[in-house]
Amino acid sequence: MRIQLQVALTHLTGRRRQTLVSLTGVVLGVAFFLAVSSLMRGSEQDFIKRLVDNSPHITVSDEVRRPRTQPAERRWADGAVKIRNLKPQTETRGIRGYREKLALIEAIPGLRVAPVLVGSAVLTFAGREEGVTLSGIVPETMKTVSTIQDKMIEGSLDALDVNPNGIVIGTGLAEKFNLGLGRNLTVVAASGASRAMKVVGLFRTGNAAVDETQTFTLLKRAQVLFERPNRVNRFLIQLDDAYAARTVAQRIEDAIGDKSVSWVEASEDILSVLVVRNIIMYSVVSAILLVASFGIYNTLSTIVLEKTRDIAILKSMGFHARDVRLIFLFEGVIIGIIGSLFGLAMGAGLMQALSQVQIKPPGVSEQVFLPIWWGAQQFALATAFAMTSCILAAWLPARRAGRVHPVEILRGAA
C-alpha cells in the first residue's frame, strides 16, 4: 500500500467517531441526491413521454414562415425592390400539391405521416349546438401517427371507412349532447354546407379539452364539407426517434417549404420550465452535500491540528509538501468513496420505496406509481458530486498540512 494512503487510513481510524459523522453526512447527501434527482428525472421523462406520445412529433401546416419571393425580387436580387398593391390570389387554402409533398416526406426513413384536413364546424343535436374541431383523416394512416385508436372506448376509427357519413367524437362531447353510438347529428361547416352524420366511435383521452372539442371524419367527407377538394392542411408526423424531431422538421421544411413545427419547438416554454425545475432541484440536493463537505472540512482540519507533530516528522524525514497534501486528499477521497457506496445503496433503497408509492395526479383517472428513473446516469452524477465536494473539502486542510514547517514544530517541542 502506498505510504501516504496508509497514513491517511490511520488518521481516519484514529478519529473513528468524527470520521463516522462526516461519513454519515456524505451517505445522506448521496442518498437524497440520488433519490430526489431520480424521481425528478423520472417525472420529467414521464411528462415528456406524455407530451411526445399525445401529440404529433412534427406538424406540417399550410403556412409559410416567409412570403413567397416575387418575380421582381428574383430578377433584381441585389436591388432594392419595393412591391406595392400586391393582390392576394383567391385560392383554396391548404398545402399545395399535397400528394407530391406527402410522397417526399414518406421517402424519409424512420417516420410515419398522415395527411389531415382540419377545420371548424358546428354540431347540432336535439336543438343544442357545439363548436368543434373537425379533422378529416385517413384512418389507416392516422392510426400510425396518433394514439387515438388506443383511446377508443366504443366503435373504431376503421368504422369511418365503412360509413363515409360517420363521425368519431369524444366522450365529453357525447355527454354534453347526451347521445351514444349510432345516433345521428348534424354537422355544419363554416361555408354553410351541412350534412347529417352518424356517431360511429367514441374516445376518451383523459384530456377534457380534447374529449369535448375534437372530432374525426373521413378526409374525403371533410374535403367536401369544407369545399376544399383534393386539399389537406396538415401533415401529422410520428418519428421512431422523437428526439430527432427538430432536425427532421427542419429537413422537411427545407424540402417542401411549408411550416414544419416539431414538438420541441411547440413545447419550448414547457421545456424551459423543466430546466428551471432542474436548477432548483439540483441546488437543493447539492446543498445537502455542501453541508456534508463542511463536516469533512471540520474533521480534516482537526486531524491536521492534532497531527502537526507527525507531519513535521514526515517532512523532516524527507516527505515533500506534496506527499503530505496527498495524505489529506486521500482522507477526503476515502470518505467520499465509502460515503458514496453506502449513499448509493441507501439511495437505491429510497428509490425502491418511492417507486411503491401511488398517487392520483389531477386530470388522470387512475392511480399511478411515482415515476422513478433507474438510469445509471443519476448514480454516476451523485457519485461525481459527492467526490468533488469531498475533495474540495479536503483541499484546504491538505494545503495547510503541506505548509507545516518542521523546524517550527521541532523548536516548539524541544
Binding site: I3, T10, G14, V407
Partner: protein, 229 residues
C-alpha cells in the same frame, strides 16, 4: 578536503520586530566516519545549528556543502530529497508515529524512497532493529516501549535509507544513565565500525568524552575554549 559535511560562515537570523540571531558565522568541516559532539549552554543555538546542517532550515547567509554539493541552490523538494537519501535524524523525544507499529515506523523512509519493495524493506527494517537489540519489539506500538527502546527504534528509522550522516539532538537527554550509555555506544559504533558520520548535540559529559571531536557553541558562535562546567 573530503569533508562529508561542511559549513561556511553560517548565519541564521529569525526575522521579526526584534530579529533574533540564532547562529552567528559558524564554519566547520566534518569528515566521513567522524563522531562529533556539539556542546554548549542551553539556548546557545546548538539545535538551530543542527537544523541548518541537516537541511531542515535554510541559513540567512552562508553555505552548507553536503557530500560535496553546495545546497543553497536547492528548493524545498530538493532539500527534502537530500534529507531522505543522505541524512537521518534522531531527536530528544522519540518522534515515532503513534499509530504505526515499530517495524512500520522503521520502514517508513524506505517506502517513501521506494528503492526497496515492501518485503525487502521489511527485511531490512528487522535487520536494523535486530542490530539495535529491539527486534522483539517490532510488532508493538511505540507507547508499549520504554524510553531507551523507543530511542533505539528512532535510530533504526534514521538508518533506514543507509544515510551518510546521522544527526542527533540530545538523543540521551530523556534517558536514564544505563539506557543513555547504550544509545551512546550504538552511535559510537555506527561511526567507528560502520563508517557513518554522527553529529550529536548533547549536554552529557560522558557522551562528549566518547566523541572524536567536540565543538563548543556559545551565543550562536563556535567557542574553542568552551568546556562543560
Amino acid at each position: 578536503m573530503s569533508a562529508v559535511l561542511r559549513a561556511e560562515n553560517l548565519v541564521r537570523i529569525l526575522p521579526g520586530e526584534v530579529p533574533v540571531t540564532l547562529v552567528k558565522d559558524v564554519s566547520l568541516a566534518i569528515e566521513r566516519g567522524e563522531f562529533i559532539c556539539i556542546m554548549g549552554p542551553s539556548g546557545s543555538g546548538k539545535s538551530s545549528l543542527l537544523y541548518l546542517l541537516g537541511l531542515l532550515d535554510v541559513p540567512t547567509s552562508g553555505q552548507v556543502w553536503l557530500d560535496g554539493e553546495e545546497t543553497s541552490v536547492y528548493g524545498e523538494d530538493d532539500l527534502a530529497n537530500r534529507r531522505l537519501e543522505k541524512l537521518g535524524f534522531v531527536f530528544q523525544f522519540h518522534f515515532l508515529l503513534a499509530e504505526f507499529s515499530v517495524i512500520d515506523n522503521v520502514t517508513l523512509p524506505m517506502r517513501r524512497l521506494g528503492r526497496l519493495d515492501e518485503s525487502a524493506a521489511r527485511a531490512r527494517g528487522l535487520e536494523l532493529l535486530d542490530r539495535l537489540g529491539v527486534v522483539e519489539q517490532s510488532a508493538k506500538h511505540p507507547h508499549q516501549l520504554s524510553g531507551g527502546q523507543r530511542q533505539r527504534v528512532s535510530i533504526a528509522r534514521a538508518l533506514a535509507n543507509d544515510p551518510l550522516i546521522l544527526l542527533a539532538d540530545e538523543p540521551t537527554g530523556n534517558l536514564d544513565s544505563v539506557a543513555g550509555a547504550t544509545v551512546r555506544q550504538i552511535l559510537k559504533d555506527l561511526a567507528h565500525d560502520m563508517g557513518k558520520t554522527v553529529v550529536a548535540v548533547t549536554h552529557d559529559a560522558a557522551f562528549a568524552a566518547a566523541a572524536d571531536r567536540r565543538i563548543g557553541i556559545v551565543d550562536g558562535k563556535i567557542d574553542a575554549d568552551w568546556r562543560a562546567a
